[in-house]
Amino acid sequence: MEKRFVYMDHAATTYTKPEVLEAMMPYFTEQFGNASSIYTFGRRSKAAIEEAREKVAKALNALPDEIYFTGGGSEADNWAIKGVAFANRDKGNHIITTKIEHHAVLHTCEYLEKQGFEVTYLDVDEYGMINLEDLKKAITDKTILITIMFANNEIGTIQPIAEIGKIARERGIYFHTDAVQAVGNVNIDVKEMNIDLLSLAAHKFYGPKGVGALYIRKGVKIDNLIHGGGQERKRRAGTENLPGIVGLGKAIELATSNIEEHNRKIKSMRDRLLNGIMEKIPYTKLNGHPEKRLPGNINVSFQFIEGESLLLLLDHYGICASTGSACSSGSLDPSHVLMAIGLPHEIAHGSLRLSLGDLNKEEDVDYVLEVLPQIVQRLRDMSPLYESFIKEGGK
């Protein structure tokens, strides 16, 4: 078996596609003019930004004037949530979210709690799905914002966004969705789904790092997060990240131009890998929803072993992956998402996320199916938990 480099961490970040980088290139050293300047050289930069804005709008079925570029997904989440919270404080101080949001949402909500807001963190079921009845019950006359992620970054579960949007719209409550993991993997229509605000980040769909966008429906009352110059129609200050924005535009165009075909390919590799893992490795559990999940996402827990050591061994074989184990992040507790779907600590510690994407080939699947079972067995052979389990007759 020859050692390969297998990147199965697309959910963490993707490479910037050569076509995207090519589109960006003129805007570094040549067409670098400030988009706010009135001379021709600046207006050309402006035109490039507006073209990118149109592409983002098209991908979401929004209007170009509803798209605001940011420095990334986290900034977009922070802006949406803090911006709406502070601008609508006179209407109420209650926010509804879930227990499985990304930290960019969760920590923002926790910060708002310190500022006098009240936050309901909805439970999810064993698959990571929220319950719409729970959501309805959580709404009070002080609720000003519902923020629920489109698709989960760890377990891949996709929420019933259109239904949530409908509930929010009927009650006159703003609905923000963190779609950082969804763009390019799921069809998104902000109008049809009644989404008021939506965050995205280019580096999750083969665009560059350090640039994202926030969709803000026309009419939504929101404060600025970054004050200063009049860029982004006076809503997000700072000299525009011209090449980054152009890259985001190109990347979203590519990523949303043929979602079905793209997903079919990724999903077929993913399913073969998942089935192979479940077949070859006993005492393995799939985390997340069996069907309503991102096409490239696998999240499994291997009993009796710990995730960080698994990642290190995978790395030794050239495989890039991720885990929800605490030991990998240096924190005390395993992933809040795995806890929220009810996994016991030791099962959460043994989790592995493989996220497939455009860098993967069928050979990668073969390779992982060859390497992973050996590695898991090797760690189990070292594990006192496995020893007891076997001694007790593998109950």
Binding site: E306, E308, E346, M382, E387
Partner: protein, 139 residues
């Protein structure tokens, strides 16, 4: 992140396994926190003639077990008892701050195995410098 020594002991751990009819066994940590370390010793003439371990845990937990077992092999029980977590970490060319607790686990597991041997042999167990804080071994 990890030193070459840590990676070597993680990738090629020494003394992995069990001892049939061990003279002493020490198990510390718990699955909730993500690390369990179990050390088996064979004692002859007050000397550790064989030692094996099994560990559920991260890279540094496995490397610490491997290094610690290497360091006590062939030592008298008194010598083995003196092995500190810092010595284990140093022998590994250091551990990341967040991972120092793994070396603590190794020290504790050895102490537990030695005291297990002492109790089995009707001797007074030695006093550990740690209170029994298995449930909170992370700092």
């Amino acid at each position: 992140m990890y030193s070459d020594k840590v990676m070597d002991h993680f990738m090629n751990p020494r003394n992995v396994g069990e001892i049939e009819n061990p003279d002493g066994v020490g198990e510390v940590g718990n699955a909730k926190c993500g690390d369990i370390m179990k050390i088996y010793i064979k004692v002859e003439n007050n000397r550790i003639v064989d030692v094996k371990f099994k560990t559920f845990g991260c890279g540094s937990a496995i490397a610490s077990s491997s290094m610690a077992t290497e360091l006590i092999k062939g030592k008298t029980l008194e010598e083995a008892w003196e092995l500190t977590n810092v010595a284990v970490a140093e022998a590994l060319d250091g551990l990341p701050p967040a991972k120092m607790h793994c070396s603590v686990l190794a020290e504790q597991a050895i102490h537990k195995a030695i005291n297990d041997y002492r109790i089995k042999n009707g001797l007074e167990p030695w006093e550990d410098r740690f209170t029994d804080d298995d449930d909170h071994h992370h700092e």
